[in-house]
């Protein structure tokens, strides 16, 4: 059992509020990812859970026991740091057994646990090396091994992959996902990289400016972002936004007019929306098709095309100067400055009101 419950948690440093009241429940065996832009408070939230920062107000409970003011040593949590934070004067074996030695566990048992963890992480042949004789990826593995041997209630990861190169990051990401399956453990993972969030998480917590914007599964966030921030944050490349006004609201959706004069019917629940209100249309790159200029009601000027092989990402500037990204087929040949028509898949488009709140989509998924 390891259920974590956070109630109205607040943290301020020198009268600056960093965490502004967070309520969150994390269930046993869940892989939860805190994601958000720099300075959103995600690392601070993790450190509050770890006990490395003092809580200003609010409550943290682990398995129904309050741990808000418990010393980090007594919380039974293990943390993997971005900088690995290995003990430079100890061998890999000592690094991994340190916590167990402190807990006074029998030496034979410690040895068994360390070799088990080393086997899982393929560190067996490195056990007698010091950290400085290891590569970045190996150090990261030792850091994870140090957490594994303890069988903690919850694993905490603070941007563990950001110091690794791109190829290694993808590999370690897969290993972490596998590890989560194998250990069946509760994990909390902080990252600014939404790809990591999407690929690893059972549950993503999107943070912004010290509060939670949305909690949900990766696909929930992708298909049903509750506001413009989450919509823009989740998904690569980013969702494009077009400003517009409401023309009319009916059962089939909301009729809007975007700058440039084109009208679209977006299948969302208009609710109390009135004609003339300012709204924002959000369309993901994968839901826009490039056509010949005369074939679409909406046009834009092609700027840069990025050829990734399977896909081509085209950056388009609309007449009103709003940037849009479009996913085109891999063999798409775009010429800089060329006018193109843009056809939107309105079934998969999003509409946000003047406050940035998403209107519920009528089409599921």
């Amino acid at each position: 059992m390891s259920d974590l419950k956070i109630t109205n948690l607040k943290k301020s440093f020198d009268n600056v509020d960093i965490i502004k009241g967070i309520d969150l429940e994390i269930n046993d065996h869940e892989f939860v990812v805190f994601v958000g832009p720099s300075g959103c408070g995600k690392s601070t939230l993790l450190r509050l859970i770890a006990g490395l920062e003092e809580v200003t107000s609010g409550k943290i409970e682990l398995d129904d026991v309050e741990i808000t003011d418990t010393a980090p040593a007594k919380r039974d949590l293990a943390m993997v740091f971005q900088t690995y934070a290995l003990y430079p004067h100890m061998t890999v074996r000592k690094n991994m057994s340190f916590a167990l030695d402190l807990a006074g566990i029998d030496k034979a048992e410690v040895d068994a646990k360390v070799s088990d963890a080393a086997k899982i992480l393929e560190l067996d042949h490195l056990l007698d090396r010091k950290p400085k004789a290891l590569s970045g990826g190996q150090r990261q593995r030792v850091a994870i091994g140090r957490a594994i041997v303890r069988h903690p209630k919850i694993f905490l990861f603070d941007e563990p992959l950001s110091n690794l190169d791109a190829a290694l990051r993808v590999q370690m990401r897969l290993e972490l996902a596998r590890l989560h399956q194998d250990l069946n453990a509760t994990m909390i993972y902080v990252t600014h990289d939404q790809v990591e969030a999407m690929t690893l998480a059972d549950k993503v917590v999107v943070l912004n400016g010290g509060h939670i914007e949305q909690v949900g599964s990766p696909l929930e966030l992708y298909h049903h972002p509750v506001n413009k921030f989450v919509a823009g944050f989740i998904g690569t490349p980013k969702m494009g936004f077009l400003e517009g006004v409401v023309v009319s609201v009916n059962e089939a959706g909301v009729e809007i007019k975007v700058s440039g004069g084109s009208q679209f019917l977006v299948p969302v629940d208009g609710g109390t929306l009135q004609a003339g209100e300012v709204i924002t249309l959000g369309v993901r790159p994968e839901h826009i098709t490039v056509t010949e200029p005369e074939e679409s009601a909406y046009q834009g000027r092609l700027t840069v095309s990025e050829h990734l092989g399977a896909d081509t990402y085209c950056y388009v500037e609309t007449d009103s100067g709003e940037p849009l990204t479009v996913r085109a087929p891999g063999d798409f040949e775009g010429r800089y400055g060329k006018m193109v028509g843009l056809s939107f898949d309105l079934q998969h488009s999003h509409l946000f009101d003047a406050q940035g709140k998403a209107l519920p989509r009528l089409v599921k998924a």
Binding site: A71, H89, R146
Partner: protein, 277 residues
């Protein structure tokens, strides 16, 4: 025209020469002191100075017969090691809290501590002397240990603080999450990582205490007098005896020089204590 390689070689030679020159200038007084200690008093005074002469041990014999070198040396050892040990006991926790649990006032506290070193010691001589008299600390090794600990503490805290600052906080936090108590965190993680810096601090504190003369001359008479007091006793009113003064100075410097030379290797190794990341 010099090729790039020749230019680099020339640079090495010039820098090397300059380095040796500076080293010689620094070393010369010590060399001359040792040399003079093996001359007779007449030779020591001769002008122009003699570089070649028949060495003699008479100064050393004379010093040993006149006063007990070993008593003074033992006092120096007890006082330097004692004050350094107590100083480390106080400085390590102080630096730990300042480096890893910084508050708004940490910087000014450090500056204030260092500023006490800017005060001329003679300014507090009378109050300290009176205090020592009242507490019966005059001419005691305990008294000297107390005063040396106090005067070296700011520098020790400052030095250790600087070394601790280099250590990523993450490592200590990792230890904390691994279940270490604050004491375990310091003893098993922090101190081993910073042993190079701690060794330099110990060495510096030892040297400062060993060489200190102002307080030892003013607060001791005979029983607790260290080597600095012995040296001073040879520049007496009845005239300067250059050869004997040199001999006694050599004896006073020798132990700390040998100690520094022996610990040099350990120090250099300690100072480059390896990558943390």
């Amino acid at each position: 025209m010099l090729t790039l390689k020749q230019a680099r070689q020339l640079r090495t030679v010039l820098l090397g020469t300059l380095g040796w020159l500076v080293a010689l200038i620094i070393f010369f007084p010590i060399f001359w002191m040792v040399l003079t200690s093996f001359k007779t008093e007449i030779e020591a005074f001769s002008s122009p100075p003699q570089l070649f002469f028949m060495p003699t041990l008479e100064n050393y014999i004379e010093i040993n017969s006149r006063s007990s070198y070993l008593t003074y040396a033992w006092n120096s050892v007890v006082v330097s090691f004692g004050s350094t040990f107590i100083g480390m006991l106080l400085a390590v926790p102080a630096a730990y809290s300042m480096a890893f649990f910084e508050t708004k006032r940490t910087k000014s506290t450090l500056l204030w501590m260092l500023s006490t070193k800017m005060l001329p010691p003679v300014g507090v001589l009378v109050p300290i002397y009176l205090l020592f008299k009242d507490f019966g600390l005059l001419d005691t090794r305990t008294g000297l240990i107390i005063i040396y600990t106090l005067i070296n503490l700011p520098i020790m805290v400052w030095m250790i603080y600087t070394y601790f600052k280099e250590i990523p906080k993450d490592i200590l936090e990792a230890a904390r999450l691994d279940g270490a108590t604050p004491i375990q965190e310091i003893v098993r993680v922090l101190l081993p990582i910073s042993k190079g810096g701690l060794a330099s601090t110990v060495l510096l504190a030892l040297i400062l205490s060993w060489n200190e003369a102002f307080w030892s001359l003013n607060l001791t008479a005979s029983t607790a007098a260290p080597l600095t007091a012995l040296v001073a006793s040879y520049s007496s009113p009845e005239g300067l005896f250059w050869a004997k003064l040199s001999a006694v100075s050599t004896l006073a410097c020798a132990p700390i020089l040998i100690f520094g030379w022996l610990s040099q290797k350990q120090l250099v190794r300690g100072l480059s204590f390896g990558a943390v990341k």
